[in-house]
């Protein structure tokens, strides 16, 4: 179905913004609610979830090298049960993509385009991503390669420019309330790290399959470092007030005043956000579209791009009257929901597949010796 091939480096640059893009903006304040001044430790703990998820995705890929989760779940637990698992995955990805599009648009409307109807922002982004997805996996890979530097450089520049405002003593006390607050704070970013399971949709199309695991792990590490640095920057600038801000990075950017020339750097954050969200939504969109086409055994996945786009926007609005609901969903539901779908279900699939493989090996051995 997908004839394109990408390199593992391209997969890494696709996955990096997929996690980081939305995580650097809203997560610091959510984590700070639980971990107070220790919230920079939380991404380190949360990244364990990422390593585990990448490991599971890669092991499943090893057992079924040419297939994505939608296809091999049918092989592992039978046709009907596999279809049900596939449906759960697709439903999850359609819903989450819709919610990500909504999240993206909400930030743009809240901070910059106050009078624009939110549907316009959501619609334009969906149309853009639909065209990229139509370009296929190679198209997304190249777009990500092109845009990820544009994502990292403004971030670095913003961090350098805000350096004079650092209050290093904000970091103390380290672990003042013990280790529990950072652990609880890591639950929400942990949900984000499970999104690495999307790798399962790219691993079959890698040109250099051997490096898949290495680059996956490296990406988790890069994401962890980025989140720790961003959290530290936010902590050094905002201190204990972080938890009261909705988008702490935005407040940090407002602090920038360098040589009385570089001021009002919110636009940097906006650029990071738009570029990151673009790659993130494209990756999710592609995974959903490819999965749907495989689930329905269609001859081409490009057919369902536009219809699924409409469904995603619908899901972005469904039972979400305002931005408070979105925030609550991200805090109270998404972490456990994402872990269940993207880590626990794949882990059970892996266990079942491993047991079945061992059994069939033993059976064939028995036949040979007998």
């Amino acid at each position: 179905m997908e004839k394109g091939k990408i390199s593992s480096l391209q997969m890494a640059v696709m996955m990096y913004p997929t996690i980081v893009a939305t995580a650097i903006l809203g997560i610091p304040s959510v984590t700070a609610k639980f971990a107070k001044t220790d919230f920079w430790l939380s991404p380190i703990l949360a990244s364990l979830m990422g390593y585990v998820t990448v490991y599971i995705a890669y092991k499943l890929h090893k057992l079924y090298p040419e297939q994505t989760v939608i296809q091999f779940s049918e092989h592992i637990i039978g046709r009907l049960a596999g279809k049900i698992i596939g449906f759960i995955f697709l439903f999850f990805y359609i819903q989450i993509t819709g919610i990500i599009i909504k999240e993206y648009a909400e930030f743009v409307v809240d901070s910059f385009l106050i009078n624009t109807p939110i549907i316009v922002i959501m619609g334009t982004m969906t149309v853009l991503c639909a065209f990229v997805v139509q370009g296929g996996l190679e198209g997304i890979g190249r777009a990500a390669q092109l845009f990820v530097p544009l994502f990292i450089f403004p971030l670095l520049i913003a961090i350098i420019l805000v350096f004079p405002d650092f209050e290093f003593k904000n970091i103390f006390p380290i672990l003042g309330d013990g280790i529990m607050p950072p652990i609880k704070g890591s639950i929400v970013p942990g949900g984000w790290f499970t999104e690495f399971f999307l790798m399962t949709f790219f691993l079959p199309f890698l040109a250099d399959k051997k490096k898949g695991m290495k680059y996956g792990m490296l990406t988790v590490f890069a994401v962890m470092i980025t989140l720790v640095v961003v959290n530290l920057v936010v902590l050094f600038v905002l201190g204990t007030t972080t938890q009261t801000k909705v988008y702490p990075l935005m407040n940090v950017a407002r602090y920038i005043s360098f040589g009385e020339f570089f001021e009002h750097m919110e636009s940097i954050v906006m650029a990071i956000w738009v570029v990151g969200a673009f790659v993130k939504i494209s990756v999710f969109y592609y995974a959903t579209v490819l999965g749907t086409a495989q689930w329905l055994n269609l001859s081409d996945y490009r057919l369902v791009i536009w219809p699924l786009g409409i469904l995603m926007i619908v899901f972005g609005f469904w039972s979400m009257p305002n931005s408070m609901d979105l925030e609550r969903f991200n805090l109270e539901t998404f972490p456990i929901y994402a872990v269940l779908i993207q880590t626990i279900i794949p882990l059970s699939l892996l266990v079942i597949a491993a047991i079945r493989k061992r059994k069939s090996k033993r059976n064939s051995k028995g036949i040979n010796s007998g």
């Binding site: 269609l298 057919l303 369902v304 536009w306 219809p307 409409i310 609005f317 039972s319 456990i336």
Partner: protein, 73 residues
Amino acid sequence: MRWGTFLGTTVIVALIILYEWPKMKQNPKKDKMAFFSLLLMGLVLSMFNIQQMSGPTAWIVTFFKPFGEFMEK
């Protein structure tokens, strides 16, 4: 029922069909079925006042309520 959204979605759906139809004429029947049923799903859902309607997201939030309460503390 919100006519504005519904009419807007209808126009978009019509444009999508116009855009995709020439490419998918030769495709198997199954492809066309999937394409049209997905479009129809979106169109039907756009008729309702979806933001206030209880839907899958609300059910999932209710389903994970105990965890939500744990995070509230």
